[in-house]
């Protein structure tokens, strides 16, 4: 018997069959985890973001359009959540760095955003982390996920024409960073 499609499973969830959502998680969780991990750069946050992505997806299933691609929709959620996680870390770092605000806040431990990895790999990770947000997302989606520019443009709602120069530029920057830091 053929496996049900994502859209059929979505319909079952909408009809009250929660188990169908577990099947959707089983199908997509590894990809979602790795997108998050490449974007935020560590296992702990990626683990949390993977969970949050599915919680948000489940709670927002009413907004999902039946003509849409469920996987790309999940990508959009995990990208949004990951970017916000990065911004939240920036926010915390900014508040910690502020002389005036330091007095208002208790001491906080800095949260390590880096991957646990070898030195070379760490350079690669840092190169990715240094990319501007848009290039970082395009890089992860294209380089690691192997998505087409059409798919990426659907996730990011940007024109295909802008994506290729962004991807090439991102790769150049990562490459140069790795050479420079070697």
């Amino acid at each position: 018997m053929d496996e049900p499609s994502d859209l059929e499973l979505v319909q079952r969830v909408r009809n009250g069959h929660r188990q169908a959502f577990t099947e959707l998680m089983r199908r997509h969780q590894q990809r979602i985890y790795w997108v998050a991990r490449w974007l935020v750069g560590n296992h702990y946050d990626a683990d949390t973001l993977a969970q949050e992505t599915f919680v948000k997806a489940y709670l927002s299933l009413g907004d999902f359009r039946n003509d849409a691609n469920f996987r790309l929709w999940l990508y959009r959620i995990v990208v949004t959540l990951s970017l916000n996680a990065i911004r939240k870390h920036q926010l915390a770092a900014y508040i910690r760095d502020s002389e005036i605000l330091r007095r208002l806040l208790p001491e906080q431990d800095g949260h390590d955003m880096k991957l646990e990895s070898s030195e070379d790999e760490s350079r690669f990770q840092r190169g990715i982390a240094e990319l501007p947000e848009k290039q970082k997302v395009v890089f992860v989606m294209r380089f690691f996920e192997g998505l087409s520019y059409d798919d990426i443009s659907q996730i990011l709602k940007t024109s295909v024409a802008n994506l290729k120069p962004n991807f090439v530029d991102a790769m150049r920057k990562v490459q140069e960073f790795m050479k420079h830091e070697a």
Binding site: T22, Q29, Y33, W38, Y94, L104, F143, K157, K164, M171
Partner: protein
């Protein structure tokens, strides 16, 4: 003409750099690769969070009605502030960060969740096109028009909501006018 010459160049460059980078980075990011029990456990933990999220929803709505809007506004303000102040590393105190700093980490997390939820909803509704920009007034106006009476803004009168929106716009304008 220029475009037709550039296109093959960028395609060739894409192919070349991709191959080089793939050769250099083969196997990166897979160590430690989460194992099979991890993925099973992730499903169990996510299902648990789903149970909590669905059962706690009614309670969180009333809590959000009290604090979420000011929180969201302050976080939106923060991002506006971040955009304008961080690049210059100005010594001027940022009032927006002060508002955010006053919140506990727990509240910041909850507010950020609300903001993300609003972003995803607004994005899905094609209310804004650029995922990489925080659509300050778009998010707020989206929330006000789509969720006003039903959910988190039920505690606010229309006048109060309008006043907050005006205040936000005024502040953004002030920041934009700042040299």
């Amino acid at each position: 003409m220029k475009r037709s010459r550039e296109r093959p160049d960028i395609e060739r460059e894409e192919q070349e750099i991709t191959e080089t980078l793939r050769a250099v980075t083969a196997g990166y990011g897979k160590n430690p690769e989460p194992n099979s029990p991890y993925w099973d456990d992730l499903i169990v933990r996510t299902n648990k969070r789903l149970d909590e999220a669905t059962s706690a929803r009614a309670i969180s709505v009333s809590w959000a009605a009290r604090v979420a809007l000011p929180g969201i506004v302050s976080i939106i303000f923060f991002f506006v502030g971040l955009h304008y102040y961080i690049p210059e590393r100005s010594n001027e105190p940022n009032p927006i960060s002060a508002i955010v700093a006053d919140l506990s980490e727990e509240v910041q997390d909850s507010l950020m969740d609300e903001l993300v939820r609003a972003q995803v909803a607004a994005y899905d509704a094609d209310r804004y096109d650029e995922i990489f920009e925080i659509p300050e007034d778009e998010i707020l106006s989206y929330l006000l028009t789509t969720e006003g009476e039903g959910e988190m803004f039920e505690a606010l009168s229309e006048a109060e909501a309008s006043e907050l929106l005006s205040s936000m716009h005024r502040t953004i304008q002030r920041l934009e006018e700042k040299p």
